[in-house]
């Protein structure tokens, strides 16, 4: 006996096998990301004022990546639709674009966004030292505006040796623009365009610092969740790209045997891809914008 309903639907359920399978799998994925987002929610709710940073990610690049994913979601449906209409060469074109989009997304993420973070530096100040750095922080102004205080100074670390060398007693930080003019109301909200650290170098004494690291997952819970969630999301994108690449190169064999079968496979892979897109739709505002 062959396994039935691999291509055509079972009449009483109206579904073919892989369709059932992928939706079940996606249900479990919902729970997986649900668990991660619950961590995001609770850690964020618990964060002390000033400890959940804002505006540290590159919004235009993030927006671009969002657009890339949305675009690829369109092309993958079109690839599927082409197969349904039995236009194989068009399918290949759409598929190629989809794969390309996935790769672009990953390259931007891993080749640009993440390294840019590792290269950035932040120092949390001791509560007792906040006063001392008031001219960089502008907390009085923020207090007056009813905004959360700044407890961290970020920028480009000029003396990287300071990270490991206990003999060096201070950090030299090329300040991010916010800290050069902290009371300017324009600085109350993050900027859309990424502004590189300025040439204004501030000296921060280690004795005043609670904790200072590069923007790694260890830096704070914001970056911990950011790297974990986008990392896991990135793995999903990678998985999708691999499956699409397989379908791109070897789809022809299936197509010649039974075009509907290939269409189904593309549909299933597409469902996964849309889900990955859907997750990103939430990730983007939660980490980049809010």
């Amino acid at each position: 006996m062959e396994i039935p309903y691999t291509v055509t639907a079972r009449p009483d359920t109206g579904l073919w096998n892989a369709k059932v399978g992928i939706w079940l799998f996606l249900a479990s994925e919902v729970m997986l990301f649900g668990g991660l987002f619950s961590a995001y929610i609770f850690l964020r709710l618990d964060a002390e004022p000033g400890y959940w940073p804002h505006g540290l990610l590159n919004v235009p690049v993030g927006t671009f990546n969002t657009a890339v994913l949305i675009f690829s979601s369109v092309t993958v449906v079109l690839a599927w639709a082409s197969l349904k209409m039995r236009r194989y060469s068009r399918y290949r074109v759409y598929m190629a674009i989809t794969i390309l989009c996935g790769v672009i997304f990953l390259v931007v993420k891993l080749g640009y966004e993440w390294p840019q973070k590792y290269d950035h530096f932040g120092a949390y100040l001791k509560t007792s030292s906040l006063e001392k750095y008031e001219r960089y922080l502008g907390n009085k102004h923020l207090l007056a505006e009813g905004l959360p205080p700044r407890v961290e100074i970020t920028g480009h670390l000029h003396n990287e040796a300071a990270l490991d060398d206990p003999k060096i007693k201070e950090y030299e930080v090329g300040l991010d623009v916010v800290y050069t003019d902290p009371t300017d109301p324009k600085m109350d909200r993050p900027h859309f365009f990424f502004v590189p650290p300025t040439e204004h170098v501030a000296t921060i004494e280690k004795a005043d610092v609670e904790r200072a690291t590069m923007f790694l997952p260890t830096h704070n819970n914001y970056f911990a969740t950011y790297f974990t969630i986008t990392g896991l999301h990135g793995l999903h994108v990678l998985g999708g790209v691999i499956v699409f690449t397989y379908l791109f190169f070897f789809g022809g064999i299936t197509y010649r045997q039974n075009p509907e079968h290939l269409a189904n496979r593309v549909e299933v892979a597409g469902l996964f891809w849309h889900f990955v897109d859907l997750v990103w739709i939430f990730v983007f505002p939660l980490f980049y914008l809010l």
Partner: protein
Amino acid sequence: MDVSSSVSTHAAHDSHPHDEHDHHELSFLRKYVFSTDHKVIGLQYLISGLIFLFFGFLLMMLMRWQLAFPGTRLPVIGTLIENVLGQGAMNNGVMTPEFYNSLGAMHGTIMIFLGIVPVAFAAFGNFVVPLQIGAPDMTFPKINMASYQAFFAGGIVMLVSFFVPGGAAKGGWTSYTPLSDIADKGPTYHVIFNGQTLWLIAFIMLITSSLLGAVNFIATIIQLRAKGMTWMRLPFFVWAQFVTAFLLLLAFPPLESAIVMQLMDRVAGTSFFLPSGLIVNGAAVSISGGGSPLLWQHLFWFLGHPEVYVLILPGMGIVAEILANNTRKPLWGYKSLVFAALVLGFLSFIVWAHHMWLTGMGTVVSAFFQTTTMIISIPSVIILSAFFISLWGGSIRFTVPMLFATAFLPMFGIGGLTGIPLAFNSADLYLHDTYYVIAHFHYIVAPGTIFAVFAGVYYWFPKATGRKMSDFWGHVHFWPSLVCMNCIFLPMFLQGMLGMHRRWYDGGQGWTLASEKVWGVSGFHWNLPISIAAWVMGVAQIPFIINFFWSIWRGEKVNDNPWEATTLEWTAPSPPPHGNFLEAPVVYRGPYEYSLPGRDKDYTMQTEPIKEGERVLHEPTMSLGH
């Protein structure tokens, strides 16, 4: 003439029935190692799972020495382990506290995730479900193979973790943070090769395996039911597996996310579960802090509670099949059984915090979780009552599977009933983390689920091999096991009521409260009879192991339906060929048509068409599709 004998005569075996495109013989590797056949995968799961189960038991037998004779040399074995694992585990033949904690954590983990889940869910599910619903295989055979491989890899990683410096995970099977986050982080800390990190990595593999399996099971049950196999004609075992698969599918991923986060905490230095201001060994820990230890507990128990029903539902399913078969009458209240299983599955997602009563919960939340926990005991009561009532009016044959299934009922009853005081947080104030809890759940999983597993092995053995296991050795296995199980776990209630706590390396020797006498023996000294019972229990498994392997090749040959059962698997040849059925089966009636009045046989197969003029009893209906 009934359908079963018409489609499955032995002559038919030879005429290679399955798909035309693979008539060449499969190589040994493809047939037994990288097989995509659900039956082979089922057996792979069964054998590896049983071995892990036995291994987990061996760990416990070691621990029971330490509990009975704390701080004394473990003869022979102690030195042996010392030579293999080093002084960190056994110091001059005496177990170290670290090793005791490793054994405890690994006993719990291995028993649950590498023993019972693979055997009760994956092995029986794989072997039996497609046969019972009349399917040629699982819907996704390759994914099925991947599921087994992921499980196997996870098991290997788990075992390897015994050999890394510092030994296997030591934080209990619950791996509470911050303890597990900071575990092993001594001077010899290796980022990957340390017990806790390997535990996490192994878990990711095991979860992957379970998810793949769950998708496969559900899709198979939805899509591949034979013609006429309506939802309400499914054997209860299939229902139980269906609900179990959903529990795994939806409850495991949040734990997976928590595991990823704990892995990040350990490997990348994040603080998901670490609050600010920790001082370990007198020194402040350098972390960003701001995390929450309780977040881990919520995510862990979000799986942890459904998991316990994963451990029991397949067992209930097995018992249901065997009860119907050996009482020679339909299960009583089939519809309420199905309904209860579904409700149980649903509710098990919203009771988890009853494991966290003492974490500082206020009135509102604890009232909510107490209520749901109370409500969830009702479907269990319904299921057990239905089983008991099913016996009434039967003509009970005490075959070996039936002995185990019968014993399951009161054993599960004791375990379930003792869950009730735990469910009230005020009573749990006293009982939390005492041996009372240990006794509670072992009554369910050990003489409960393990007995159901044994029952299932004896019951479906003829289907898998064409041979039967020896009845005599079955009895020799059953009676001592039953006695020992009770000798092990009954006294633990006493110890728990005395206030003796679990995970005590010294078995309570250093505690005044454990020197109080109960029933003439002090709490601490109860350890000895318990341990002896556990070791005797180990010996009592030898007949089973021998019987099992001996019968594979030498057991008495039997026909395709030796138990005269009604469900579809018994219409297939034994062992079923690739593709299972010689002809696609067609189903005409419910799963337990035993002792239909006015027939010469006391069982009527599901494939037997309704005779003209036959009075059809009311058949419940239900639709999940469309």
